[in-house]
Subunit: 153 residues, 2 copies
DNA sequence: TTGAATGCAAAAAATTTGCATATTG
DNA sequence: CAATATGCAAATTTTTTGCATTCAA
């Protein structure tokens, strides 16, 4: 499970913060130091629950943030369109930057690592479900559980 | 569904050998009145979280069961193979009878109704994911969010 | 009889809320 | 300056745990 979302190397996080600050202001929301720290934590972790952000923020140098601030920041920024969330498991929503491409999360029940495949891989299935049930499915919202290569005994 | 938990008085546990009790005993687990009530609640509800079982059991005639009993009963019976669970949302696992066919749950984010499609509808996708990532995906474990026909504006 | 299960109460987790104070725009 | 966001503390909500007692096998 370590390193599951560590490869955010394609993007520096100041870039991320800036483009997202933009999003916030556009919604009449304010860009605060706390929100920036939360955003930075999410960017670094790849995907993170409120709890994970809470402990991540604990070691980034600044003063610890209370849970309420984390929860409210995540909610506000998701509403502003800067974040999106997925349910990787049953415990809590896991947030990630909204500018990350849509994809389906593959969570290994063995080791906990989280892989991804482009959301488009499910296009056929989405179409079939729409035909059969009229249901408009979003496969990106909940993760798919399974076993990764290593964990298949 | 009537009678699923209604005619308790007509049989004792030693006499009543249903398929689920059978499963439990095979694992060295005991068939208790509480477990039968939990099982009956799940059967009647189709799929139910611990909380839902808790309140369902509150109106089935017998004395209320404490949360601990519900949680432990669900866990024990899942382990014995009598129940299975799915994550319909992020709140809590939702249990159903294990003899129910495998299927993918479709949860409408508009009205909350839960539909189903046979798990086999995702066979192609599962195969594609295995080819591309070596990941063995189980689409039946987490539900798929989306909008049902009525809720698509 | 005897180990598994229950019931109860209390502890942990995980989230949320109220409100005075501090900050952003 | 005004409205928003924060910090703190306490309240909820959800799930887990310890332990004496009960009960199925």
């Amino acid at each position: 499970m370590p390193g599951a979302g560590a490869d955010r190397s394609q993007r520096t996080y100041s870039e991320g913060v800036d483009e997202h600050g933009e999003l916030l202001r556009r919604q009449g929301l304010r860009v605060t130091r706390q929100r920036e720290r939360v955003l930075a934590a999410v960017a670094e972790l790849g995907h993170a629950t409120a709890e994970e952000v809470l402990s991540r923020v604990a070691v980034d140098g600044g003063p610890q943030l209370p849970p309420s601030t984390i929860y409210r920041a995540l909610e506000a920024m998701e509403q502003a369109g800067a974040l999106r969330h997925t349910h990787l498991d049953h415990r809590s929503p896991s947030y990630q930057l909204a500018d990350h491409d849509h994809h389906i999360h593959l969570v290994c029940t063995g080791c906990g690592t989280v892989g991804e495949v482009p959301a488009s891989i499910a296009d056929d299935l989405v179409a079939r479900i729409r035909e059969q049930r009229g249901f408009d499915a979003a496969f990106t919202h909940m993760a798919v559980q399974g076993r990764c290569t290593k964990c298949q005994t």
